[in-house]
Amino acid sequence: MAQQQKQQKKLEGLSRELIALRIANELEDGTYVNLGIGIPTLVSNWIEGRDIVLQAEIGMLNTGPLARESEVDQDLINASCQPVTELPGCCYFSDCESFAMIRGGYMDAAVLGALQVSEQGDLAGWNNPERGFPEHIGNIGGSMDLAVGAKKVIVAMTHVTTSGEPKIVKKCAYPITAERVVKLIVTDLAVIEVTDKGLVLKEVAPGLTAEDIQSVTEPRLNIAPDLKEIQL
C-alpha cells in the first residue's frame, strides 16, 4: 500500500480537460453522441464547430454550449441539470422518446464516467455502496439505458481512486451498470481498448511507460505493437 501510494504520486497524467480532449478526438464527425455527468460533460468544450450532434437524455438533440448568465432558461437544461443553449437544427422530445432513441441504437457513442471497469468491459458507475444504501438502491438515472443502447461506450475516468486503488479491475466489486459494454477507457494515464482478447494498452500519458500503467491496473494489459504517447 505504501509502495502503491508512492507510485501513484509518481504517475502524473492528464488533467480532466485533457482526458475530455482525447475523447473528443476519438469521436467521429457525422455522429450522435451522449455525454454523461462528470468528465464526459467536459468533452463538449472540445467539439464546438465539429459535425457532432449531442443528445441530452432529458429530451434534446443538438444541445449547445453551457448558457451564459443572460441566456439561462430554467426550461432548457441538460441531464446534469446545467443550463444549456440551442444549436441550429436542435429539437426537443419527451424523455420516453429520448430513451426509445437510446435503447434503439441511435447513439453512435456514449461517454460515461465509471467507478470501475472490468477487463471484460463491465461498467460499474451508478452506485457507490459506501454511501450506505442497500445494493439495489441508488442513482441509476439514464446510465443503464445508455450503457446497453449506445453503439460504442467510452469511459472517461481517473485511472485510480483517490486512495490509489486501481479502477480497472478483473471483476467489478461495485454494482454494475451493464455487462460487457465498454469499448474504450480513457484515463489521466492511458488509453485502453477492451477487446475479445482482453485489455489492450494503446496510449500512455507523456513520460509514462507500459509498466507504470500495469502497476496501477489490476488485470494484465496486452501492449499494442504501436504503443504511443496519448494523442491530443
Binding site: D75, Y92, F99, G142
Partner: protein, 233 residues
C-alpha cells in the same frame, strides 16, 4: 369540456390517502411546484410518489416527506449526487430509517412503464438492466440471442404535471426540455392535474404543436411562472 379549475387546492382536493401519484419534471424544467405544495397543504397520507428524484429541483417534495405523507418512492435518480448534501436531506434520512420505502428503475424503464400503462399494454421486454441488480425478481428472456427483462406497466391514480401553455380542454404545450416526463405521465394516470403558465381558450393553441392531447388531462389550473436558476449547490 371546460376542465379549468380556479383553485389549485380544489384541483387536488379529492386525492385520497393511499393514492399513487406521479409527478413530472426534471430539476428546474417542468416541475409542478405549486401542485406539490398544494398536495402538502392537502395532507393526504400513505402516498406512493413516483418522481425522477427527491434530490435537487424537487426540494418542495421534502415537505411531503417531513409531514410523513410518503409511504413509498419510485424514482430513477432518488438522491442528491453529493453524499454530503444527501446526508442533510429529509428524504435520505427517511429512507435510512426505513420510514420511506424506495424502488429504483433505470430512467428509460421508469418512463416506459408509465408509457405502457397509458397505452393499455400489460408489459414489455427491455434490454436495460440485464446482468445488474435491476434484474432481481424479474423474468429474463432471450429474443434473437439477446437477453431482455420483463417490465410491467404502471397505471398511477394521479399525475401532477406542469406545462407552459394549456387550453380549457386540457391540451398542453411544453417549453423546451420541460417536456420530459409530462406527456407519458399524463397518459398513464387515471386523473391528470396540470398547472399551466398561460391558460387559453380552445382553438388558440396550434393543433400540430400540442404535446399532450387534452384527453389525457382531466383538470387544468393556471399558475404564476416561478423563476429558478438552474444551479446545483
Amino acid at each position: 369540456m371546460d376542465k379549468a379549475f380556479t383553485s389549485i387546492d380544489e384541483a387536488v382536493a379529492d386525492i385520497p390517502d393511499g393514492a399513487s401519484i406521479v409527478i413530472g419534471g426534471f430539476f428546474t424544467a417542468g416541475t409542478p411546484y405549486q401542485l406539490i405544495r398544494a398536495l402538502a397543504r392537502h395532507k393526504a397520507k400513505n402516498l406512493t410518489i413516483m418522481v425522477q428524484s427527491f434530490g435537487p429541483g424537487n426540494e418542495d417534495i421534502s415537505q411531503l416527506v417531513l409531514q410523513g405523507q410518503v409511504k413509498k418512492a419510485i424514482c430513477n435518480y432518488p438522491f442528491y449526487r453529493s453524499a454530503t448534501r444527501g446526508a442533510r436531506s429529509a428524504f435520505e434520512r427517511a429512507v435510512r430509517s426505513g420510514k420511506v420505502e424506495v424502488e429504483v428503475y433505470p430512467m428509460g424503464t421508469f418512463i416506459e412503464k408509465l408509457r405502457a400503462g397509458g397505452a393499455g399494454l400489460a408489459a414489455f421486454y427491455t434490454p436495460t438492466g440485464v446482468g445488474t441488480v435491476a434484474e432481481r425478481g424479474k423474468e429474463k428472456r432471450t429474443f434473437n440471442g439477446r437477453d431482455y427483462l420483463l417490465e410491467l406497466a404502471f397505471r398511477p391514480d394521479y399525475a401532477l404535471v406542469h406545462a407552459g401553455y394549456g387550453d380549457r380542454m386540457g391540451n398542453l404545450i411544453c417549453r423546451k426540455t420541460a417536456r420530459n416526463y409530462t406527456p407519458d405521465m399524463a397518459a398513464a394516470a387515471r386523473i391528470t392535474i396540470a398547472s399551466v403558465e398561460e391558460l387559453v381558450e380552445p382553438g388558440e393553441l396550434d393543433p400540430d404543436k400540442i404535446h399532450v392531447p387534452g384527453i389525457y388531462v382531466q383538470r387544468v389550473v393556471e399558475v404564476e411562472r416561478l423563476h429558478y436558476i438552474p444551479t446545483i449547490e
